[in-house]
C-alpha cells in the first residue's frame, strides 16, 4: 500500500473514531453542561436574592408575612422564602420533588439557610428538571452538525497537506529508485523540499548512487587495465613457445608439453580478450549506427559455426517470418551476441539435437528467440547464468563462463531485453526483445 493511501486511511479513520466516540458521549456531555449551567444559574439567583435582602431588608420579599413564594407561569421555576427552625442549617443543590398546586413536579432545588433579624430563614430556588433538559436535543443536533462539518473540513485540509508533504517522497522514488538502470545516469538535481528528512534521504540516495557508480567505474577500469596489461606478457610467452616449437626439440614429448602450455596460455588469452571485450562494451567504445538484417546475420553465423554443429550433428533451423531491419545497432556486437547464444545452445545440447531460431512481432516489439532441446538449466541457476565466471554445476564442459556475461553486456549496451525460459532436460529458450 502506498504511503499516501495509508496516511489517508489513517487520518480519516482516526478522525471518524474520535467523532464516533464524541457522538456517543454527546448526550451525557450536554446533560452535564445543562446541569452545571442550571446549578450556576441557581447560585446566581441565590446571590441576587441575598443581595436584595441585604440592601432592601427581608421585608422586600416577605412584605410583613412569614413566608414568600412565587412561581413562573408554567411552574418551571419557583422561589420560596420561609422561617426555619433556629438551628436548621443547609446549603445544597439536589434533585427532589415538590407538590405544586396538586402537581408533583421534579425540581432541581437549591436550599439555603441564612440568619436575618435574629431569625433563621430557608431560601429555596427550584427549576423543573424538564426545563433543564429542554434544549438538550437541539443542542446535540447542532453540535453534531458543526462537528461533522469541522471534521470533513479538517480531513480535506489534512489530505491536501499530507499530499503536499509527501510529494517529494514520490519524486525521490520516481527519480532515484523506480526505472533507474545501472549505471545510474548523472541526475544531480536535488528534489525541491523543505522537509529535512526528505532532503537527507535524497542526499543519501545520491551519495549512495555515486558510491555505486564509483565502485563500478573502478571495477570497469580495473578490468580494462588488467586484461589489457595481460596482453603483452601473454604475447611474449606465446611467441616464445611458438619459436620453441619450430626448433624440432628431442624428444618429441617436449613438443607435446609445449603444445599443452600453449593451450593453457590460449585459455588465459581468451579470458583476457573476453574481459577486454566486456570492458570495451561497458565503456561504450562501439558505434550504434549499423543497420542489420537478422536473416543475413544469422545465415552468416550458421556458416561460421557450422563446424560445431556438425561435430554434434545438430540440426539448426532459422525460421524468420518478418523481414525486419534492425537500426541503430552494432553488427559485430549483435553477431557476437547471437554467436554466443547459439554456441551455448550447441555446447549444452546433445547429439542429434535441435536448435530453432524464430522471430515474433508482439505489440510493436520485435523479438528473436533461440531455443534448443538440450540439457536445460536448473531454476536455481537461472539468476546467475549471466554472472562472470559463474559455472553451472551440472555441466562439465562449461569453458571459462564469460559467454553469457558478454551477451548481457551487449544487451545492456544495445538496449535489448533478454528473457530466458528453461526446463532441465527439455531445453532452453533465450528471447531477445528489440
Amino acid at each position: 500500500m502506498k504511503l499516501s493511501t495509508k496516511l489517508t486511511l489513517f487520518i480519516s479513520g482516526s478522525k471518524l473514531a474520535i467523532v464516533g466516540l464524541f457522538i456517543l458521549l454527546l448526550p451525557f456531555l450536554i446533560r452535564q453542561i445543562a446541569s452545571n449551567y442550571t446549578n450556576f444559574s441557581l447560585r446566581s439567583q441565590q446571590k441576587k436574592v441575598i443581595r436584595n435582602i441585604n440592601s432592601k431588608g427581608i421585608n422586600y420579599y416577605l412584605e410583613g408575612e412569614d413566608n414568600y413564594g412565587s412561581y413562573t407561569m408554567l411552574k418551571d421555576e419557583y422561589i420560596a422564602l420561609e422561617i426555619a427552625a433556629p438551628d436548621y442549617k443547609i446549603d445544597i443543590i439536589r434533585d427532589t420533588k415538590r407538590i405544586v398546586e396538586q402537581d408533583t413536579i421534579a425540581y432541581r432545588v437549591l436550599s439555603f439557610t441564612f440568619h436575618q433579624n435574629n431569625k433563621n430563614y430557608l431560601l429555596e430556588i427550584g427549576k423543573t428538571n424538564a426545563s433543564i433538559n429542554l434544549y438538550n436535543a437541539a443542542l446535540q443536533r447542532f453540535a453534531l452538525y458543526v462537528l461533522i462539518i469541522l471534521i470533513a473540513l479538517s480531513i480535506i485540509i489534512d489530505l491536501i497537506f499530507t499530499r503536499q508533504l509527501i510529494k517529494p517522497l514520490g519524486q525521490i522514488i520516481k527519480l532515484r529508485l523506480a526505472n533507474t538502470r545501472f549505471p545510474f545516469k548523472k541526475n544531480r538535481k536535488n528534489i525541491q523540499t523543505t522537509t529535512q528528512d526528505f532532503k537527507y534521504l535524497d542526499r543519501s540516495l545520491i551519495s549512495l548512487m555515486d558510491q555505486i557508480n564509483e565502485a563500478f567505474e573502478k571495477e570497469r577500469e580495473f578490468t580494462a587495465n588488467a586484461s589489457h596489461e595481460f596482453m603483452t606478457p601473454i604475447s611474449i610467452l606465446q611467441n616464445k613457445m611458438e619459436n620453441l616449437l619450430t626448433e624440432e626439440l628431442e624428444p618429441e614429448t617436449i613438443q607435446e608439453h609445449i603444445v599443452d602450455m600453449m593451450k593453457t596460455l590460449e585459455r588465459l588469452k581468451k579470458i583476457s580478450r573476453a574481459l577486454l571485450l566486456i570492458s570495451r562494451i561497458e565503456n561504450e567504445q562501439f558505434s550504434k549506427q549499423d543497420q542489420v538484417e537478422p536473416k543475413n546475420l544469422l545465415n552468416e553465423l550458421v556458416e561460421e559455426i557450422s563446424h560445431r554443429l556438425e561435430e554434434k550433428n545438430i540440426h539448426i533451423e532459422i525460421d524468420l517470418k518478418h523481414n525486419k531491419i534492425i537500426t541503430c545497432t552494432n553488427h559485430d556486437l549483435l553477431f557476437q551476441l547471437f554467436y554466443n547464444l547459439v554456441n551455448n545452445a550447441i555446447k549444452f545440447n546433445r547429439e542429434n539435437g535441435q536448435i530453432l531460431i524464430s522471430d515474433q512481432v508482439e505489440k510493436d516489439s520485435y523479438s528473436i528467440q533461440v531455443s534448443d532441446n538440450g540439457q536445460g538449466i536448473e531454476p536455481t541457476e537461472i539468476p546467475y547464468i549471466f554472472d562472470r565466471f559463474k559455472k553451472t554445476g551440472q555441466a562439465e564442459n562449461t569453458g571459462y563462463g564469460l559467454g553469457l556475461a558478454i551477451v548481457k553486456s551487449i544487451a545492456n549496451y544495445l538496449n535489448l531485453h533478454i528473457k530466458i525460459d528453461s526446463a532441465p532436460g527439455e531445453g532452453t529458450r533465450f528471447k531477445i526483445n528489440f
Binding site: M231, K240, N243, Q255, V259, E266, K347
Partner: protein
C-alpha cells in the same frame, strides 16, 4: 626482404626477429620511438612493424614520419590496445595491416605475405603441392586440369599450411587463423582434425596426400 621491428618490449622483439629470420627475412630492431626514427632515416625497409605503445612517443606519429622516409614499405601495426578506432586510424594513415597482440607468429607471416602479393605484385602463378596445383588468388585446387571443390574453410586451412610449409602448425594456431576471435573455448575440440580429414578424403581420390603430415600431439605440417 628487410624488416624493421619497432617494439619496446625487448623479449617480444627478439622472438619476432627469431621467427622472421627463420623465414629468411633480414631483421633490424628498434626499442623506442627515437631509435625507430633514426633507423628509418638511415635505411630503407620492405616491412615495418610498429608497436603503437612506445614509451617515448606515439606510434601513429612514427608511422607518419616513416611514411615520408620509407614510402614504399609495407606497414603493419602491432598493438596490445586492440581498439577499433586504433585500427581504423592506423589503416587511414596508410598502414597495410593491423594485428592485435597477442597474435600467432605464422599469422604475422601470412599477413606479410598477403601484403606482398597485393603491394609488391609478387604473384606466384600456381603453387605445386605434390601432384596438385594451388591458385592462392582464385582459391582453386587443381589436379592436372581438373578443379577440386573444397569448402572455404578447407581451402583456408590448406593454403595456410602451404604458406608455412615445413613448419608444424598447432591446432590452436590453425583455428585462430580460420575462426579468428570466434575460435572456440573448447580446446580439445576436434574440428580442425575433421577438416583435415575432409581435405585428405577429397584429394585422395585423385592422388596421395602424404605431404600433409599429422605431427602427433602437436598439429599438422605440409612437407615439401
Amino acid at each position: 626482404m628487410k624488416v624493421l621491428i619497432i617494439e619496446d618490449e625487448k623479449t617480444l622483439a627478439y622472438e619476432l626477429e627469431k621467427f622472421l629470420r627463420k623465414a629468411f627475412f633480414l631483421c633490424d630492431l628498434a626499442h623506442s620511438f627515437k631509435q625507430g626514427a633514426e633507423k628509418l632515416e638511415l635505411n630503407q625497409y620492405d616491412y615495418i612493424l610498429i608497436d603503437l605503445g612506445l614509451p617515448d612517443g606515439n606510434g601513429f606519429d612514427l608511422l607518419k614520419k616513416a611514411k615520408k622516409s620509407n614510402p614504399d614499405a609495407a606497414y603493419i601495426i602491432l598493438t596490445a590496445r586492440g581498439k577499433l578506432e586504433d585500427r581504423v586510424a592506423g589503416l587511414d594513415m596508410g598502414a597495410d595491416d593491423y594485428l592485435a597482440k597477442p597474435f600467432f607468429l605464422p599469422e604475422l607471416q601470412s599477413r606479410m605475405q598477403a601484403i606482398a602479393r597485393r603491394k609488391f605484385k609478387v604473384s606466384e602463378e600456381l603453387l605445386p603441392l605434390g601432384l596438385f596445383n594451388i591458385d592462392l588468388q582464385k582459391r582453386f585446387v587443381f589436379f592436372e586440369n581438373e578443379q577440386i571443390e573444397l569448402s572455404r574453410k578447407e581451402f583456408d586451412l590448406l593454403s595456410y599450411l602451404l604458406l608455412h610449409k615445413n613448419r608444424v602448425l598447432t591446432r590452436i594456431q590453425l583455428s585462430e587463423h580460420i575462426w579468428g576471435n570466434f575460435a572456440d573455448d573448447d580446446y580439445d575440440s576436434n574440428y580442425i582434425d575433421a577438416h583435415i580429414k575432409n581435405i585428405r578424403k577429397k584429394l585422395n581420390i585423385y592422388a596421395p596426400t602424404e605431404w600433409l603430415e599429422t605431427v602427433r600431439g602437436v598439429g599438422y605440417r605440409i612437407r615439401k
